[in-house]
């Protein structure tokens, strides 16, 4: 709406309305700019920059990005608390969802990671030349479950539960990086203790072992199991 025409149309029907609105708009604009919006915009730019920086870190990270790594990486320019990082990450997470991006920001294995949205899985599998069989065998899953809920655990204890030798399965799980040696148990023979590795959490999309299904119930059985094992 041209300002030149405002006075010309003044006497016409319906003109006062138009004039009022333009006046308000003209008046309001500088006000907002000077009073509120400008500092907000400045702040927003800083905020946008911060979000973008964290986004950049997420983009390059091969492993789930931890809060500590974000703080360390940005420490020259800004001192962030854990809560600050969590807030930034949450803002990014929501923005990806809102903008309908092809990836999501997920909390995984003690950090954050950008992962593609599930709905695009068919396209991605087609993109990969050799689709990988990612599913674990039944014995591998059972052995992993026992380790996950009872870690750290020695091989003999796993075998007592499964009722069969687990040497082969256990070795595969270690080779695959899902399980690692946590140390030795101070009993005769000093057998290795096994625990789940970070990749385990990544493979099952878990934040930590506390997120395992029925964790409290199965861990609660632990002391009972311990006493029975003493025989």
């Amino acid at each position: 709406m041209g300002t030149d025409n405002d006075t010309m149309t003044n006497g016409g029907t319906g003109a006062p309305d138009v004039e009022t609105t333009t006046d308000v708009a003209r008046d309001a604009e500088p006000h907002v700019k000077a009073g509120e919006q400008q500092p907000l915009e400045q702040e927003a730019t800083g905020r946008e920059q911060l979000l973008a920086a964290v986004e950049a870190l997420l983009f390059v990270s091969k492993q789930p990005l931890t809060t500590a790594s974000v703080r360390r990486a940005l420490s020259d320019d800004v001192k962030l608390s854990d809560v600050d990082v969590a807030t930034i990450v949450e803002e990014l997470r929501i923005s990806y969802l809102r903008d309908g991006r092809g990836f999501r920001l997920v909390e995984l294995a003690g950090g954050y990671q950008l992962r593609t949205a599930s709905e695009f899985a068919p396209y991605i599998l087609k993109l990969f030349k050799e689709p990988r069989e990612e599913r674990l065998s039944q014995p591998a899953l059972e052995t992993l479950a026992i380790i996950a809920y009872r870690q750290p655990i020695v091989k003999a204890e796993i075998e007592a539960i499964r009722g069969v030798d687990v040497s082969g399965v256990l070795q595969t799980l270690v080779d695959r990086g899902l399980v690692r040696i946590a140390g030795r148990k101070e009993v005769p023979g000093r057998p290795f203790l096994y625990e789940t590795a970070r990749l385990f959490l990544e493979h099952f999309g878990l934040k930590d072992t506390e997120e395992l299904p029925h964790i409290s119930e199965l861990r609660a059985a632990d002391p009972k199991q311990g006493t029975l094992d003493l025989k």
Binding site: A121, F128, G163, V164
Partner: protein, 246 residues
């Protein structure tokens, strides 16, 4: 039941992942009996029957299977005595049900099998999303899932049915006729290639000899091992079906 296979000189190297506890849980589920009150005679009898089948087929089974058979028979014999007449047993508290330790072990294992299923669900979900380092992950050796969703015990149960029927049939066996597993492999291959889905029962010709049935079954196991065919059940304890893996 002796081994039928020495003449054929064929051993299926299919790895049997299931252990004795899996067999017991399978039998308990199949018979719909309570895990807390196992009819020990009946279950022991069935357990030994499966064990004999596996031995006859010369399957690659864990040594723990034999050990469990001994445990079951031990429990069975103790159950026959009134509690105050049972000799002392280090694995058993005074007046304790001889099945208690086994039940505890089965319940615990069953619980872990259930959470293993939960983990599998999580795994399938997670497999639909990808991070930027997928290429690295593809370099890792994959762990395979055996036998699709059918357990070796389901296969043995189906085999046993066919085998028993043949044993009862008044057909004279011509032992001179050599049946080769290799020939049966070819036969099954042809069958699955020309039919979308083959029912387990259709693998066996009517009036098959027991030797032929054994050879056919071993041929099927071999094809499973080679990942040439897929076996599946549409429902728990339902009929077993076979299809070609493209």
């Amino acid at each position: 039941m002796g081994s039928f296979l020495t003449r054929d000189d064929y051993r299926v190297e299919l790895e049997i992942f299931e252990g004795p506890l899996d067999l017991l849980l399978y039998l308990i589920r199949k018979d719909e009996v309570s895990i807390h009150d196992i009819p020990i005679s009946r279950i022991t009898e069935q357990y030994v029957e499966y064990l004999e089948l596996m031995k006859m087929l010369d399957l690659n089974i864990a040594g723990e299977f034999v050990l469990m058979a001994a445990t079951l028979m031990h429990i069975k014999s103790r159950m026959l005595l009134p509690p105050d007449e049972r000799p002392e047993d280090e694995d058993e508290g005074p007046g304790e049900d001889p099945r208690l330790e086994l039940v505890r072990q089965l319940l615990e294992y069953k619980r872990f099998k259930e959470v293993a299923e939960d983990l599998h669900t999580l795994e399938v979900q997670q497999a639909t999303t990808f991070s930027r380092n997928e290429d690295d992950r593809s370099l890792l050796p994959t762990v395979e899932r055996p036998l699709a969703e059918v357990s070796i015990f389901d296969l043995l149960a189906a085999f046993n049915e066919v085998f028993k029927r043949a044993a009862e049939a008044p057909v004279a066996e011509i032992l001179g006729d050599e049946v080769k597993v290799a020939d049966k492999i070819r036969e099954i291959r042809e069958l699955v290639q020309h039919t979308d889905v083959v029912r387990f029962g259709d693998l066996f010709r009517p009036a098959s000899t027991r030797l032929e049935i054994v050879a056919t079954f071993l041929a099927m196991l071999e094809l499973i091992r080679q990942k040439a065919i897929l076996v599946f059940q549409r429902q728990v304890f339902g009929p077993i079906e076979l299809a070609l893996i493209p």
